[in-house]
Subunit: 256 residues, 2 copies
């Protein structure tokens, strides 16, 4: 059994691929970690077998053992509140992490469910300490990811406090667009694996409202949709509706 240093065997053993050959490498945990150290990290990262649509990664209440990174597909996380109703906390695309909210309590506070066939890496949180010298840089990277998460949550707070239904949906579509683009996919055309119910729930609206908005966006020529495939015909207009300052020269925003 040879540890592949090539990117050749992508197709056959997708779930065996090492971090440095992973196609979301530059978005995931190992950024900024040296090659030698990466091999150590590789050793403790476990490649989960693909999860079917509807399958669970973990449930609310489960003990917190792993941090998860999405390799392909998409996941939704949600909490159950008061028995029946649930609240969708977020949607995770390839290169995004799950479970960070459980570090403090040691117990998962959300459930994570696959929206489509997905593959996921499992990183045993407490074995990160075994990494010795690199523990510090991995932890630093983790902190950056968590910081990004907090920032995202703050923007969501603005969205839920200040924006109308129309603005929320526009912002949601643009957010997906941006994230897909970062992952090397098209920014104006993608598959939406989440249902109207999930979107409505996530955005704090009723399903009917979301449905009406999709219809209206389509009438207005902003989008075209067939089945789960969506095309943003006027991304610029959607960005404006979402309240995103047009083509921001993001100049000084950078960390080092």
């Amino acid at each position: 059994m040879l540890k592949t240093e090539f990117s050749a065997s992508i197709e056959l053993s997708e779930r065996e691929v090492a971090c440095n050959n992973c196609n979301v490498f530059q978005l995931c945990l190992p950024i900024g970690i040296g090659k030698a150290d990466l091999k150590l990290l590789d050793k403790i990262v476990k490649r989960h077998r693909p999860i079917k649509r509807g399958g669970y990664l973990f449930h609310s209440g489960d003990p917190f053992l792993f941090i998860y990174a999405v390799k392909s597909g998409s996941i939704k996380t949600y909490t159950s509140i008061g028995g029946e109703t649930q609240q969708v906390i977020g949607f995770q695309l390839p290169g995004e992490m799950l479970g960070l909210d459980a570090i403090d309590t040691g117990v998962h506070q959300c459930s994570a469910k696959a929206l489509e066939m997905s593959s996921v890496c499992e990183i045993p949180f407490h074995r990160l300490e075994e990494l010795g010298d690199i523990v510090s840089s991995v932890q630093y990277q983790l902190m950056r990811l968590m910081s990004k998460q907090i920032l995202h949550d703050n923007m969501l707070q603005v969205l839920l406090c200040k924006k109308t239904a129309e603005e929320r949906l526009a912002a949601f579509l643009v957010s997906l667009s941006t994230r897909f683009k970062e992952r090397g996919f098209s920014a104006i055309e993608y598959n939406m694996s989440m249902s109207r119910y999930d979107i409505a729930n996530y955005l704090g609206l009723a399903v009917e409202t979301i449905s009406r908005l999709f219809s209206r966006f389509q009438e207005e020529g902003l989008i075209t949709e067939r089945k789960k495939h969506i095309r943003l015909r006027d991304l610029n207009q959607l960005q404006i509706m979402a309240g995103i300052p047009a083509t921001v020269p993001n100049a000084s925003v950078q960390s080092r």
Copy 2:
């Protein structure tokens, strides 16, 4: 004109106190750090001089250099969106940290303003690396704090998505109660340093709605209020209104 800088009637000792003598020690960064290591941490932590009501800790756009911990008083953080309007992101009480959302970008994304005379510790983020052996445990502690923050944000998301105005205000009052209790203060009686405007903004409601609710809560005997001092006359009822499962037997939080 010299009168304006007249602020130094605070006991000097208060802002010189070391971490292990701080009265929010058990809520702050140094938990779980050994005594010897604590001295190292103490060395790099700078005790900020007290900030007057309305004073700023940092502004949105400032470079990220420090993490801040509130020692006394209270701070609000907010982002400015589209020029005029702002969004209150949160209120920080003693023992709570600020600036964690800037780790990723290296630039503060919020402004932090004192709601009353407050004192604050300044922790130079990049000098945490100097801590050598303990860097790992400090970083772990930081991750726990950030994890807690993320969890809090998720609960806020539920609040903003699912709760009515009444439930939101009840939850807000109960949240303050809980946090004051954790800090050794009364759970049913405290000073609210934030204005109705800030509360409304934070909860995604109009000021008028908040004002009406306060009046109604008072009519119904749930609270009594005089100036900024509030007394929760029926904490239990408020908790129920907030949707908090009464007297939580937190033992076995099972999944389903």
